[in-house]
Amino acid sequence: MADIVMSPAEPQSSAGLPSDGVRRYIWRFFVAQREITPFIIMVALFIFFSIDSPEFVTSLSLNAAAGFAGPIAAIAVGEVLVLVLGEIDLSAGQVFLTTPWVMYWLWQLGLPVGWAILASLFVAAGVGMINGMITVLLNVPSFVATLATNFILFGIVLIESNDTEATPIPGSLPPQTSSVVPHVGFFGQVIGVWLWSEILWVVAIALVIHYVLKRTRFGVRVIATGGNLLGAAEAGVPVRRVKIWCFVLCSFLSGAVGIVDAVKYGSMDPGNAGVNYILYAVGACVIGGTALTGGRGTVIGAFIGAILIGVLEAGLTIIGVSTNDFYVYIGLIMVVAMTLNGWLDRLAAHTRTS
């Protein structure tokens, strides 16, 4: 039987001209590492703001950037998992706000802080489970299912809290003093109050999820389910279970960082709606190189996208541009990012087959 030669052999990069090989390598790196493009835009913005207004690099502005980017990054990192499935979770922003409220509520009822945190995380995961069940078992599009849970959660918090602010969040600094409440000091200092702790938590989570998506069997299953639902099911991938797990993880992670965020600020306004966060988070995913079509996504990209949004917001504030302009810029960056991603995809197809 003749050998089946399906396409011309690839030239050995090491045997070719070194400059050519290096250039080829760099090019491939750009095409393959989708996160590089938003990273460059982010660094460029950072440099621009630093030059335009030297006080941008002061800790205050960076804190502002980190503070703005933290919640977005936290939600975006979990959201990537759901987006890779070809689904979307619009309730993650509300879960981010509801989870600390549940914790506060249980704490008020007399539960120890640790137990209150555990129970509220359980609730967060439960919301994800419900999202997944509605999507998978009732065949409701996830866009609708999670939009519905988003509103229901928002409503429940408003009703139960009687629209009064939840404060102080256990573990946080009491508003009028500078001393940490002794019995909850551990949570306060390590988990929440320090301004950078939230972003560091998100970095840690992002690295773990990135690793899970790229290196584990579960990651392959997520990509397979999102890339070709029927094909994955035929190969024996338990696609329903994979979907439900992704919703659970997304919700759980949003809720966990939500607690950290609430501890940082010390109070929680039930009137604050999660939709504000989730739309930025989906924007961050898109800017980072995750398509909403499923099968493809980058956690690192989503994180960079969130930081980019944070840098843009803080930067525009510091150079004195109206915050209203911020929305226009975000929109423009999203369009450019999406176009660029499509272009890179086609380019990737071209370089791989030629």
Binding site: M1, A2, D3, I4, V5, M6, S7, P8, A9, E10, V212, R215, T216, R217, F218, G219, V220, R221, I223, A224, G226, G227, N228, L230, G231, A232, E234, A235, G236, V237, G295, R296, A348, A349, R352, T353
Partner: protein
């Protein structure tokens, strides 16, 4: 779960027609409500044999293949594998009996590399709760296996979506046979494929049958393709197998004529009654 490389192929023994019967179908019937699709199918498949299944639309080919791949049970009749009667309740069930179905090239995940597609749901992982992928081992085994069955893919890290239709089909067939499949069901493997691409798949299918003794049932509308692919052709008409011919004993013209005359006589019977 750790899969080792497929065992080296055993030596082909004798003509396919003389060897062991691996699959036997006896009197299988199937109705969907008032519509009777299969009216008693008798069919057998030998080790390393490639059997073609032709027939008009609605003759029951797909229904038969779906019963064999475990998608639904027959109303009556029996299916035996290597002499033992089996009941195929699910795709998993069929798979555990060594029956794999290739649903055209659509079964691959375009965003995953070739090696991941080959090992989909049978990934080689390191021990531990995280199930970390042993990509190096999977790459190595994928390369070796594709070499073994003479499928040349320059780089197993290429995403399946970047491959041609023929290459994807070859990977789909390779995946099905990699997991120790002894019986392969192929639904129009050459549909929408150019001449060169068809050639690749024909060579691959013939090669797998001869070197690994994989038995196959191939559904195709194209007689010319079937003649090249198959050792034997079964024609299905109105839920029955009406013609059973070894390709070496007949010709394309003869078979076409047989089919037409059988069709005419059926039509005549229907008109008479």
């Amino acid at each position: 779960m750790i899969n080792d490389a497929p065992a080296p192929a055993g030596p082909p023994e004798g003509l396919p027609g003389n060897s062991e019967v691996v699959l036997e179908v006896k009197g299988v019937t199937k109705s969907f409500g008032p519509l009777t699709v299969l009216r008693g199918i008798d069919l057998n498949l030998h080790s390393g044999e490639v059997l073609g299944l032709v027939g008009d639309n609605g003759a029951g080919k797909s229904t038969l293949v779906k019963i064999l791949s475990g998608l639904f049970p027959p109303d009556d009749g029996q299916v035996s594998i290597k002499g033992r009667e089996v009941r195929l309740h699910s795709v998993q069930d069929a798979s555990s009996h060594g029956i794999e179905t290739v649903y055209q090239d659509l079964a691959l995940i375009p965003q995953l590399p070739v090696f991941s597609n080959l090992f989909l749901n049978h990934e080689i992982t390191y021990a531990g709760p995280m199930r970390l992928l042993n990509k190096r081992k999977m790459r190595e085994l994928a390369k070796r296996y594709l070499d073994d069955i003479n499928v040349y893919i320059p780089n197993v890290d290429t995403e399946a979506g970047q491959l041609s239709g023929g290459q994807r089909q070859a990977i789909a067939v390779a995946r099905a046979t990699r997991a120790d499949a002894s019986i392969l069901l192929l639904d129009e493997p050459l549909a929408a494929m150019g001449a060169r691409e068809s050639r690749l798949i024909i060579d691959l299918v013939r090669g797998l049958a001869k070197s690994r003794m994989v038995s196959m049932i191939i559904i195709d509308h194209n007689f010319a393709h079937l003649f090249e692919l198959c050792d034997r052709v079964n024609v299905m008409q109105g839920g029955r197998i009406t013609i059973n011919q070894r390709t070496q004993d007949t010709s394309l013209e003869e078979l076409t004529e047989l089919m037409v005359s059988s069709y005419r006589s059926q039509l005549q019977q229907a008109l008479d009654s």
